[in-house]
């Protein structure tokens, strides 16, 4: 029998809801931009296909927003219900971005409603497209603000703790904590990237089923291109994130890389497993790569897990989450670049059924990467809601 442990159950419940919500939130942030791109190209090229694409995506998008609103409301309430103590602290220090997030979402919801029901009210398509700008801005800003809250949980600042009481609260400093820039950039680029690949998957699926219409080809090509751009952006941001972790949360980076001993010129371990002596077996070893990731210097010293007290270490399973996330990211960058080249050079492979099937997988893979990244971020600081609190 499992012992009843409210902390465990609360964690599981919140975790489950969030794991579900994050998928909807991710495409909720990215898709408005994709709709805007499609409509813009449609107007510029005077091509009905792109306009139709924008319309269909909007229809689908509304459903995800509906689900996102409900899960989002549930999470907000759940946090207060299950973690009242944390919310009290959060209320004192970090409620400003939460408050702003609601505003941003409000803004998005209003204009989405207007956009959705005014397709035929404007003579000029461009005016209708203008309505999408507040939607996209609202969506991106709500991600921006909510990520700030998560960043704060990783590197809390903007207050002093004196005898258990919070003093000298500075809401702005709490918002712009050290984790904010890399976290926000990572969340935004991956949201755009994931949305592009999800939409590309849908188009690839139609082609895979043999619906050989030019409409699907245009959609696939456009989204693969957008996906490629944002994957490259994600790689660059990922590099910054590595350096951030090395400086502020070295134990998280070390756990992700199974980097046990502090050393100079540290190699990067991919996958593998631990044998009974705690040695890493069967991993792909890339010499010096970890030092480069952490400090842009192949011979730099990277702190290992041995430097931290045992009870503060993140669970070692995060290594797999991290590696899976990075591998999928790399794969998506590669496959979209390959597809782009193949189309440019008119290689026959793009007509191949198997290749189309591989493209269909990009969307689900991107989702898995998002979940892995989320698990990594959350398991990585499981011992407390906020680091060091």
């Amino acid at each position: 029998m499992m012992e009843y442990d409210p902390v465990f159950f609360s964690r599981t419940l919140t975790g489950l809801t969030l794991a579900f919500h994050i998928l909807y939130a991710t495409i909720g942030v990215g898709i408005p931009l994709m709709i805007a791109i499609a409509q813009w190209i449609g107007i510029k090229k005077n091509d009905e296909h792109y306009i139709l694409l924008a319309r269909r995506w909007t229809r689908g998008f509304v459903i995800t927003v509906a689900v996102g609103v409900v899960t989002g409301t549930a999470i907000g309430l759940q946090l207060s219900l299950l973690w009242p103590n944390f919310m009290e602290l959060a209320g004192h220090v970090i409620s400003l971005p939460l408050f702003l997030e609601t505003f941003a979402f409000f803004f998005e919801a209003i204009f989405l409603g207007i956009y959705l029901y005014t397709w035929d009210r404007f003579e000029n398509q461009k005016k209708h497209m203008l309505l999408l700008i507040p939607v996209a801005i609202g969506a991106s800003f709500s991600a921006f603000f909510i990520t700030m809250v998560n960043a704060f949980m990783n590197t809390p600042q903007g207050f002093d703790l004196v005898n258990g009481a919070l003093v000298n609260v500075d809401p702005i400093a709490a918002m712009f904590n050290p984790a904010t820039p890399t976290k926000v950039a990572h969340v935004l680029t991956t949201a755009y990237m994931t949305s592009a690949f999800v939409l590309a998957s849908i188009a690839a699926f139609h082609l895979f089923k043999g619906r050989d219409h030019i409409y699907h080809k245009k959609s696939l090509y456009l989204m693969m291109k957008v996906g490629l751009i944002f994957s490259i952006a994600t790689v660059i941001v990922g590099d910054f994130s590595g350096k951030f972790l090395a400086e502020y949360q070295p134990e998280k980076l070390a756990a992700a890389e199974w980097h046990f001993e502090t050393e100079e010129g540290a190699p990067l371990m991919m996958f593998g497993w631990l044998d009974e002596n705690g040695e890493v077996q069967g991993a792909i070893k890339i010499p010096y790569a970890l030092s480069i990731l952490a400090h842009s210097d192949p011979f730099a010293e990277v702190k290992g897990l041995n430097e931290f007290p045992e009870d503060e270490l993140p669970p070692l399973i995060v290594h797999y989450f991290f590696d899976l996330m990075v591998t999928i990211g790399m794969w998506l960058t590669f496959i979209s670049a390959f597809y782009w080249l193949a189309v440019k050079r008119k290689w026959k492979v793009i007509k191949n059924k198997l290749f189309n099937f591989i493209l269909v997988l990009s969307g689900p893979l991107a989702f898995i990467a998002i979940e892995m990244g989320w698990f990594y971020a959350e398991f990585g600081r499981q011992h407390g809601f906020s680091v060091g609190l």
């Binding site: 459903i63 207060s80 409000f106 209003i110 009210r121």
Partner: protein, 341 residues
């Protein structure tokens, strides 16, 4: 004026906005479901859908706004209420999820399932009922401190007549607000068949609304004397609210000025709601928590108020735009323009 009062007024204003908008939404959903049984679907369905489609997303945000603001301005309230409300609000979450998924499916164009429509309609009445428990609890007497932690006394809560009168008020006023709004909406749309049915609903629910409101005041006298005395100090606010109630009913009865009837209803509820809020002052949770011991630090309060003003400056024009396009636009409301998907 101090920051705590500004904060609580802002939140109260948003809660009022939520109550009106959500009532229209919940009630419309219920009438829409009811029309399936009462065989009036062909008359009511069109007008209700036309209103609901573009605005339903906005409704939930008001609620989120209220509790995010609550956590921001009054972190201690988040602690007290968060601990106590685990069960009632979890029920509300499930109900909100049912309604949300209905919207998702409906937009997707999946086949209409009668059962699902009914579920959606009933959920719309149960949500206000379950959320109204919060107001009951705030009156005191249902929470006990065990050590540092507040604990909800379920038995007392369940068997208290006050609980049930507040539940009844929340349900009947949802139906009343919604029916009155939709009557005015149908009138603008010149859909006279729908208007006649909705006007009947509106008149039918007006009596129960005012009766249950009176019942609550009477019960507060036994339950929370201080609050009752405060209400009596500003009795004229409630009397004025009653006058506006009479105006609404009169207009509806004589089939005149339907839009004005709805505005008068807003004033009626506004007066009663703010009268209730003022007489509740200074307690957030009687007798444990006032707005002053629960208030956040000054730096955060100022930041929140600045953010609020900036945000409001963006929101008001956008809400007006939404209203202009879908509520006060005769061609849209009548459904004359072409729509293709």
């Amino acid at each position: 004026m101090d920051l705590a009062i500004i904060g609580v007024s802002v939140l109260w204003l948003f809660l009022f906005g939520y109550i009106i908008i959500a009532s229209i939404d919940f009630g419309a959903g219920f009438f829409s479901a009811y029309s399936e049984i009462a065989n009036t679907k062909h008359v009511l369905h069109h007008i209700i859908q036309r209103y609901l489609s573009p605005v339903w997303e906005v409704t939930n945000v008001f609620l989120v706004f209220f509790f995010v603001g609550m956590v921001g301005f009054f972190p201690s309230a988040a602690f007290y209420y968060g601990t106590v409300l685990l069960v009632p609000v979890s029920i509300s979450i499930v109900l909100l999820a049912i309604r949300g998924s209905y919207y998702a499916f409906q937009t997707y164009g999946a086949k209409d399932s009668k059962f699902y429509v009914l579920l959606y309609g009933v959920a719309g009445l149960l949500i206000p009922a379950s959320l109204s428990i919060v107001l009951t609890i705030s009156e005191g007497g249902f929470v006990e401190m065990v050590g540092e932690n507040p604990v909800l006394l379920y038995k007392e809560l369940f068997f208290s007549p006050l609980t049930w009168s507040i539940v009844i008020l929340s349900v009947v006023s949802v139906l009343y607000i919604s029916a009155t709004f939709l009557t005015a909406y149908a009138d603008v749309a010149e859909d006279f068949k729908a208007r006649e049915i909705l006007r009947k609903y509106s008149l039918a629910w007006s009596g129960p609304t005012i009766l249950s409101a009176g019942l609550i005041i009477w019960q507060l006298r036994q339950h929370n004397e201080l609050h009752f005395a405060n209400i009596m100090d500003i009795w004229w606010v409630f009397a004025l609210s009653g006058v506006f109630f009479a105006i609404t009913v009169l207009f509806l009865w004589r089939r005149k000025y339907y839009s004005l009837a709805f505005w008068s209803l807003i004033i009626q509820f506004g007066l009663a709601f703010f009268g209730y809020g003022v007489s509740h002052y200074p307690y957030l949770l009687y007798p444990y928590l006032t707005i002053y011991d629960g208030f956040t630090n000054d730096a955060m309060a100022q930041a929140l108020i600045i953010a609020f003003i900036a945000g409001f400056a963006l929101l008001v024009p956008s809400i007006l735009l939404l209203a202009r396009l879908f509520l006060f636009n005769r061609t849209y409301v009548k459904g004359e323009e072409q729509r293709r998907y």
